[in-house]
Every structure is written in structure tokens, then in C-alpha cells.
Symmetry: C2
Subunit: 302 residues, 2 copies
């Protein structure tokens, strides 16, 4: 199977390297690390065992990439507007596009642009980060939760099997919207608050005020999910807190972006879902307050 990895960072680098390591023909799009990886290859330091790809197939531009059966989009959502139109030459007719990305509301955009392809969401429950050029450090978790537009069972089964064979635990979800909201259950409280309060995950679960705030936001997401017709069991929120309690102290991706001066996924993680819920009659006030604070911090330090 020909696979394109659009964006070889903490997510694309990890899953792409696993797919290549298990024998697939993987084509990696790189930007700043291109020259380094050309010389030194890709390395994954994983708590499941380290491995490396000495000579991965790499590209500096989507125009040079071959048409693939599966295109994994693993750039930040802030780059979607630029990247989405470029996928036309990278995905085969009848192929699939898998959005390995945080956020909410982008699969319908892809489906409108690529009506002949299967459009899937991949929710990455993983702790990994780019640890220097061509190097991904994978510290915890790794499960991939998959869902498809129109619940496309064929594409789901095919891609789930592909990842499972590559050593990635997957689960298939029937409802893409609900699956996306489940991922927001972690991202909305912890990603933004780590930027606003300038701290790692451990402070967010250990400090009583931060624990109250993040749990209240999760409760709000449960209410919003119900209001938009994608109800989630309350124990799922408890499970996110428990996972974070047990996590190695961690800088969420939004904090890493903030500290590195990169754009923040504010619309992807906050704005789009806040608007979606509000259009369906539910106002997410806790999340809104965080969104405004993040917008201020981003403009101030950009």
C-alpha cells in the first residue's frame, strides 16, 4: 500500500515510521528537517522499543509526491487551509485521506474537496514530541481511534488493519463527530490551560483550583455533546482525568507550540466546536473564556 505522510512531526513521524517499519511504501513530506533526514534518516525513541529508518522516502514538496492509496495529514490544523488543496495530486481516486490531527470540523471540508475519496478522522491518544531533527520521542500511550465520514465501513476496516499490523492499537468508532468530541475532552481542558496557566499536565491535575477548572470544562463538553446529539458517558471524562493523573508530567502540544512561537490551534480545538454547539443551542462559557485568553496570549507573544 502506498502511503503519504503529510507532515513528519511528533504524530506523522511516529505513525509513519511504524507503517514503514512494518513494510509499507511510505512517502514522507518534510519541511525544516528535510536535509537532516536525507543524511541521517528518521529515528523513533519509543517506550515500546526504539527503531529507525535509515533511508526513508522523503519529499520537500507535495508536487513531487506520487499518488497514494492513503494520505495521512499530520500537520497542525492551522496549516489546513494551505495543505488541503495540495492533496489533489497526492491521493488516488478511490483512495483515503486520514486526518491525524487535533481539532474539530475539518473532515466535512475535506469531503467537500475530495468527494471521490474516503475521509477519515484519526484521534491520536499518544504522548510524543519532536526531539530534534528527524527524531520523535514517544513517551506514553499510542492508541489510534478511527472514524469515517458517513461511517464508511470498508475504509475503516482496511485502515484499522493496516495500523494494527504496524503495531498501533486502534479502535473503530461509528460516529465521527462523537469521536472528535471525545478527543476534545482531553484537548480543551489540558491543552489550553497549560498555556494560560503556564504549566505542565501534572500541575493541572494536582492543583485543586486547576483540577476544578479542568473538570468543569469537561462537564461542559459532556453537556455540549448531549446538546449536539452525540452524548458521551460521563465516566469518559473521569477516565481522561485518571489518564492524566497517571501520565508522566507532560507539555501538551499547544504549550509546545506557544513556547516555540508557532500558531496555536485555537479555532481547531476551541472555536469550531464552540460555534457548532452554540448553533445547536448550547453556550460553552468555560471553553469560551479559555479561547479568548488564548487569543490574547497568541497575539501578545507572536
Amino acid at each position: 500500500m502506498d502511503i503519504a505522510i503529510i507532515g513528519t512531526g511528533a504524530i506523522g513521524g511516529y505513525y509513519g515510521a511504524r507503517l514503514a517499519h512494518s513494510g509499507n511504501d511510505v512517502h514522507f513530506l518534510l519541511h525544516s528537517d528535510f536535509e537532516y533526514v536525507k543524511e541521517h534518516g528518521l529515528t523513533v525513541d519509543s517506550h515500546f522499543g526504539d527503531f529507525s529508518l535509515p533511508k526513508p522516502k522523503i519529499y520537500a514538496n507535495t508536487r513531487e509526491m506520487p499518488p497514494c492509496d492513503l494520505v495521512c495529514v499530520a500537520v497542525k490544523a492551522t496549516a489546513n487551509a494551505v495543505i488541503f488543496p495540495q492533496l489533489a495530486g497526492v491521493v488516488k481516486a478511490g483512495g483515503a485521506i486520514l486526518l491525524l490531527q487535533n481539532g474539530f470540523g475539518y473532515e466535512p471540508q475535506l469531503a467537500a474537496l475530495y468527494p471521490k475519496q474516503s475521509i477519515l478522522a484519526g484521534l491520536c491518544f499518544i504522548c510524543s514530541y519532536r526531539d530534534g531533527p528527524g527524531r520523535v520521542r514517544h513517551t506514553d500511550y499510542g492508541k489510534l481511534s478511527l472514524a469515517a465520514m458517513d461511517n464508511d465501513g470498508d475504509a475503516l476496516a482496511r485502515i484499522s488493519e493496516l495500523f494494527e499490523r504496524a503495531g498501533v492499537e486502534t479502535e473503530v468508532k461509528a460516529d465521527l463527530t462523537e469521536a472528535r468530541i471525545r478527543k476534545l475532552m482531553w484537548n480543551i481542558p489540558y491543552n489550553g490551560m497549560s498555556v494560560i496557566a503556564d504549566c505542565r499536565t501534572d500541575a493541572l491535575v494536582k492543583n485543586p483550583a486547576m483540577r476544578s477548572a479542568t473538570c468543569a470544562v469537561m462537564d461542559e463538553i459532556l453537556q455540549a455533546a448531549k446538546a449536539v446529539g452525540a452524548a458521551i458517558e460521563p465516566s469518559f471524562a473521569d477516565e481522561m482525568v485518571r489518564l492524566t493523573d497517571e501520565m508522566v508530567p507532560y507539555d501538551p502540544s499547544m504549550r509546545l507550540d506557544f513556547l516555540a512561537g508557532r500558531p496555536l490551534e485555537i479555532e481547531a480545538i476551541y472555536g469550531n466546536f464552540i460555534d457548532y454547539a452554540e448553533q445547536r443551542g448550547y453556550e460553552m462559557r468555560f471553553a469560551k473564556m479559555m479561547k479568548w485568553q488564548l487569543e490574547y496570549l497568541e497575539t501578545r507573544f507572536r
Copy 2:
């Protein structure tokens, strides 16, 4: 008229000096500035004209103060639990206690402790700060809004006249709860956000995200006021924004407290009113989020 000023800082120092300057017998309680003021007196640099008191009557302890007709409590609300019981020796039977302080919910506590005295709230619409020992800098505004427990008209008229004669513009409010909420309309959005976003008032009104956030909190306070039976006209919130637009860029008192490592008036400005509204069926989510964030910042940097 014998007047006690409990706490000679930006508020007590300013109003107390005006009352003394207009011929009243004013007794100032001082703490850290006692020795300095004993030698150099009190100075007010005011945009209405500078003046000073070379030999004010000062005290280092409430036990040494004479019983007074009017006791102005101008300490931070965080000191109320310590100061309130000490007022027994400072206020005459039939005298009045005026709480010149930000926050919500403390007059009923005073009324329970001092049932024979008139209990009043003084809402200080003023920009002033302590500019070194024995020196208050008054940069803008100055109006004092007065209200009494049980709408005690005699006490209100007497004390309003006293301040007016001292050159302080006053207005008398019939409903103490409503008057307190009007003051929160400024304090809840601007005091806390200046700490959370680490900025002065100008950033809070000029940055679009901060302007949206602070205006949304004001709208929430309007809804809460209505829910607790103290409805305030929406144009009052607009007026607070307009005042802040026109203000000299200013560090709200909570930010000064935070930068100086002093306790924050979180319960006074946030917690008490949030609880009051919630007990009456209205949940203030914007304000709650700010409260948790402030609690975290306070514990982190204390």
C-alpha cells in the same frame, strides 16, 4: 466628628486625608508606614491638587484608638476576619461603620457583629495607589457611592454630607446589594483579568479578545444581578467599558497585590458573589473560570 481610618493605604489614605484636610478629627491606623508618617506626615498627590497633613493623628494598633462616630474600614477584604472583631473598641454606640473596600457580602457580617451601629458600604470609583511610605497618588476619578444596610437614611445623609464637605463627590444608593454589584461590574472583569493576562487596563480594552472576554463577563454579571433581584440597566456595563477606554493605563489593585506577593481578594470579588448568585439559581461560568485561574496563580506564586 471623630473619624477612624482603619488602613491608611491608597483608599483610606486618600479619603482620610481629605476628611482631615476639611477639618475633621481623623485617627489613622497605620502598619508598615507608621514610623515614616510619624516623622514626615501624609502626602496626597492628587489630580485635583496636591496636599499634605504634616502631623496626622496616627496609631499602630486599634487598641490605642479612641471610640469614633465613624469608622472607615479601608483594609483589603482579606484582612476582614482579623479586623472586624477589633472594631468594638473603635466605634461609638450609635456610630457608623463604613466599609470602603472592594468585594461582596461583608456588610451582613458587620451588621451581625455590630447591631447597634449603622453599617454602610462605600464603593470607591477611584484610581489611586500607595506611591511609597506615607504617600498616596490619586490619578483619576474619586466618586464615592454610598449605601446602607436596611437603607438607613439618616446615616446615609450624614456621611454623604461629611464627604461632600471634604471635596469628595458622593452618590447615595437605595439598595446596598445592587450598589455592591455595580462595583463588581468593573472589578470582576478588570481586576482578575489583569492578573491572569498579566497586563494593565489598556490591554484589556484594546485587545479584541480581552475586550470580548471582559464584556462577556459584564453581561454575565447583568444576568446574575437580574437573577438575584437587583437588576442593573445594561448601559451601566457599557459605561464601565467607556470609563476604562478613557482611563490612564492602570494596574488594578489585584494586579498590584499579585505583583507585591500580597493575598488576592478572590473570595471578596469573585467567590462570595458567585456563591450568592448560584444559591439563587444562576451559575456564573465566566467568573468561575477566572476565579479558579486566580486561585492557581495565587498558590503558585505565594
